[in-house]
């Protein structure tokens, strides 16, 4: 492809055809200040911060929208440009309340940084002329209209990235205000609290409640990781300070979600109020007593060794890491020859292996079968809604209460699956998203689509794909187990179906992060670290193996899920790999489809 050659500040730059002046400048590491522009959003050209002088153009032109042409001569910091930018800043700073020292975002604010850059030392226009409301009706973050500069990043994020179309602008001119729906409080609107707007806001207009006033960005550490909520496997950045996770942000470079997160991934993990298990516990004379790791593991090893393989049972959560699931299989299934293994979550049957989440954007017809991504895998529902905005037809084969029904072209019952398949057969790029709610007949019917369609299973647990690939799902029977090892992990579970069947005398070991009815019944409890406290790898529903990293130290004596199993194996005299890297490689090898 022929490149476009232009000159920016006297420097020769070549850019791919179709790129804007701003993109060309970024390629050459020339900094042009922006406010309304955001790399993840469509350029708007509204704030007029990125104005540049282009030879032959009468007026200054916004770099974010102006297309490059061959031989263009651009000046990004000429005196005329600087005067214009200062003027825009003068207007913006005086428009609403931008009194930085009282703002939560001071130090991290893009508007403030530009104020410093262009030497704004006084107000040209009278400020604080009008008071604007603060909307605190949302649980996780609030909107302070006084700090808003109407750049509309939030509006665009809401429609372009999340396809939720909650945010908009009401009134016009100086009366313009960001609003939700038809001007209702944010908390009562169609907002789904995904927080994408919060992440793109350049000023302190959108403020996270939990991390507000907890420190400037420079005082925090950012650790990239993978979200542990569902099988999509979104990239997250954990923002920590002094051993506490302040907030979670979407990782813009992540291959799956490209910066977008949902409420369950961004906020809910930080608002978890369940009580942690922080020390190993062993039941003595009917009562759980705190003990040390050695004693606890010794008790487990003794209990397991004293039971025949046929009488041993293993139950695992699909929220555990690749390494833990691999060790679980290795230790119990291969070394101890246990055959009574099972998973705590329902797993969708594998229809086909071909397909990735990225195919959703390219598809012209989308079948959602037996899954409700709006509740369970919200980021996948964003992808679907985006595709619907682009003109794809959505067919929901599920109950009428499925969250995607309002966006659907057709809502069918599971027994009408053949109608959906017929329509999909006529399309060019059909996409099938299915979950554990799919029936056997429906799965068979969908197989007819064959190679033409992309199939992606939407599972509940983050690591369901790995668990299924490791064969941990072969018809578990709790009543047959005399000794039972349950890897509950972080899962929120009352465990009643299991507990009802477990024999009174059975020896139950629970590896868990939180207290639950299962830990009440346990004979040994092994305290496990949670998502922010452990490293490891996770396999998303596409089979993509991604790293999860540790941002803070585990609470109390808790240990990572794989570390506990590794110690237990050693206690039982089995050497099953030592370092995390070795384990990750072994696990990845075991998970990879043959």
């Amino acid at each position: 492809m022929a490149m476009v050659n232009l000159t920016i500040n006297g420097q020769k730059v070549s850019a791919p055809p179709g790129s804007t002046v701003l993109q060309a400048a970024q390629l050459a590491n020339i900094d042009i200040p922006t406010l309304c522009d955001h790399p993840a959003l469509a350029p708007l050209g509204a704030c007029r911060m990125c104005l540049v002088e282009i030879k032959g153009q009468r007026n200054l032109q916004p770099a974010c929208t102006f297309p490059t042409t061959e031989g263009m001569d651009v000046q990004t910091e000429s005196p005329r440009v600087v005067v214009a930018r200062k003027f825009v800043l003068d207007l913006l700073f005086a428009e609403r309340n931008h009194y930085c020292m009282y703002c939560e975002m001071t130090g991290d604010c893009e508007l403030q940084a530009l104020g410093y850059r262009y030497g704004l030392d006084h107000w040209v226009y009278p400020t604080y002329t009008k008071r604007f409301p603060v909307d605190a009706t949302r649980l996780y973050f609030l909107m302070d209209h006084n700090r808003c500069i109407l750049c509309r990043r939030c509006v665009r994020a809401c429609s372009e990235l999340v396809a939720n179309h909650t945010l908009g602008v009401r009134q016009r001119g100086a009366e313009s205000m960001i609003q939700a729906d038809m001007n209702v409080p944010f908390g009562e609107s169609t907002c789904i609290s995904c927080g994408t707007c919060l992440q793109v806001c350049p000023t302190g207009a959108l403020v996270d409640r939990r991390s507000a006033f907890m420190g400037r960005d420079i005082e925090t550490e950012h650790t990239k990781s993978t979200c542990s909520h569902c099988s999509i496997g979104c990239g997250v950045e954990m923002v920590t300070r002094s051993g506490n996770v302040l907030r979670l942000e979407g990782d813009w470079d992540a291959p799956v979600n490209a910066g977008v997160l949902c409420q369950a991934g961004r906020f809910d993990p930080l608002y978890d109020e369940r009580e942690r298990v922080t020390k190993p516990l062993v039941r003595k004379k009917g009562e759980l007593k705190e003990t040390d790791w050695d004693t606890a593991l010794q008790a487990v090893a003794k209990g397991m060794k004293g039971t025949k393989a046929q009488k041993l049972g293993v139950l695992a959560s699909t929220y555990a890491t690749n390494e833990a699931l691999y060790l679980l299989r290795k230790l119990f299934s291969q070394e101890l020859k246990v055959s009574n293994l099972g998973l705590l979550n329902k797993v969708a049957p594998v229809i086909s292996d071909q397909g990735s989440l990225a195919d959703i954007a390219e598809s012209d017809i989308i079948l959602v079968v037996g899954t409700n991504p709006v509740n369970d895998q919200p980021v996948a529902s964003f992808f679907v809604k985006r595709a619907v905005d682009k003109g794809a037809r959505l067919i929901v084969v599920d109950g009428k209460d499925n969250g995607l029904v309002p966006f659907a072209y057709m809502n069918l019952e599971m027994k009408e699956i053949n109608r959906a398949v017929e329509l999909a057969e006529r399309a060019e790029h059909p996409m099938v998203l299915y979950g554990a709610g799919i029936t056997k007949n429906a799965a068979t019917a969908l197989k007819k689509l064959g190679e033409k369609a992309s199939f992606v299973a939407l599972e509940l647990g983050v690591n369901t794909r790995a668990a299924a690939a490791l064969g941990l799902n072969n018809g578990f029977d709790a009543s047959a187990a005399q000794a039972l090892y349950i890897l509950v992990g972080e899962q929120d579970l009352d465990g009643a179906p299991v507990l009802q069947k477990v024999g009174k005398d059975a020896f139950v070991v629970v590896q868990a992060s939180f207290k639950s009815p299962l830990t009440e019944r346990a004979d040994v409890i092994l305290p496990m670290a949670i998502w922010s406290e452990r490293a490891g790898s996770l396999t998303n529903t596409e089979g993509r193996v991604q790293k999860a990293n540790k941002a803070v130290e585990p609470k109390g004596e808790a240990k990572a899920d794989w570390e506990i199993l590794s110690l237990l194996a050693a206690k039982m005299g089995k050497k099953l790999g030592a370092s995390l890297d070795d384990l990750s490689a072994l696990a990845a090898e075991a998970i990879r489809p043959a």
Partner: protein, 420 residues
Amino acid sequence: MFEKVLTRNFGLPRSESIGVYIANGGYQALPKALHECDPEQLIEMVTASGLRGRGGAGFPAGRKWGFMPKGSDIEKYVCVNTDEGEPGTFKDRELVEKDPHQIIEGVIIASYAVGAHRAFVYIRGEFFLGVKRWIKAIDGAYAKGFLGKNILGSGFSLDLSVHRGAGAYICGEETALIESLEGKRGEPRKKPPYPASVGLWGKPTLVHNVETLANIPHIINRGAEWYSSIGTPKSTGPKIFCISGHVRNRGIFELPLGVPLREIIYEHAGGMTFDKKLKAVIPGGASTPMLTPDQVDTPMAFETLEEAGTMLGTGAIVVMNEDTCMVDVARRLMRFFAHESCGRCTPCRTGTQRMLNILERLEAGQGKAEDIETLERTARKIQGLTFCPMGDAAINPVLSGLKLFRDEYEYHVTHKRCPV
């Protein structure tokens, strides 16, 4: 005496009806255009006539038609801009209310020339009678077979419908009109791409003012040569001038372009009320710079007004006598622009508001000497910085007021009151 072209039927009873229009030579250009001309010839004819857009910018209509991509496989649209909102302008409303068929004939010919089969009327929500007349006229045209499938057996089909706007000045700007027509918030789009390549629903779109389209049948009927003989070489054809303010006969006057301003004010509009002295004239609507009494002999044409430092705009002449406070004039106009700013770009959204604040302060006798400087600096800085041309329009009343009547601004500061 100039022979009226566009307003010739205005005096007739029931001039809006299709019967009266046909009885007075209406719908004669249509068969001529459809049966005798091919689209290329029509574009050539309109180009030769020298017709320039009457919506304010004065862009040559023939060139605009020529920009539309050729080929019958491309879906194209035509939009009729009836979103007349410039303060002082009331010509489009009269045209729609008194002779809508003239415009419809123009729309059909224009659509045929550019190859569009769907046209939309975008009308200002407040034009209640205009909406009724549009709908009735369109119904009439359908009944006679001028609209719909296979018009007059030519094989050309066109559908026309009316869309009411929600009353925003900015929707008179063609890209904002298109956004609004699509059901979105009325805000201008970035250019390029221009509507001729990417317009309504992403398809090539021709947007024309009502008055521009009303000229088309006459050009077809009487030829480009006849048309270009009216007016000046660079501004051809008849123009409807709207005159308001301190004159005896306020209203619309159809005159050839290039008529001296003096003739309009003192002959057609009957001179100044109470024979007061003329102080200033806004020649083309609120967004055009003012003229002083010594410029009153300027011919009203695109090029001559441009030489005089202003614009023909929509031809809305606002006449002000010696009793007019120029600060108040600027304040009133700025209130309009601040109110009508769409709020998208910073300089227009907050800049107009700042200028309005200063003007209000000055008018209230609370102004300070530096206020005038701030006002001028703000206006000059807004120039060329805004997303659409509205920002440049909004500063004109202030800049031309300061240029011509700076002493009056200073008087407001020193004496805390109006000099008049």
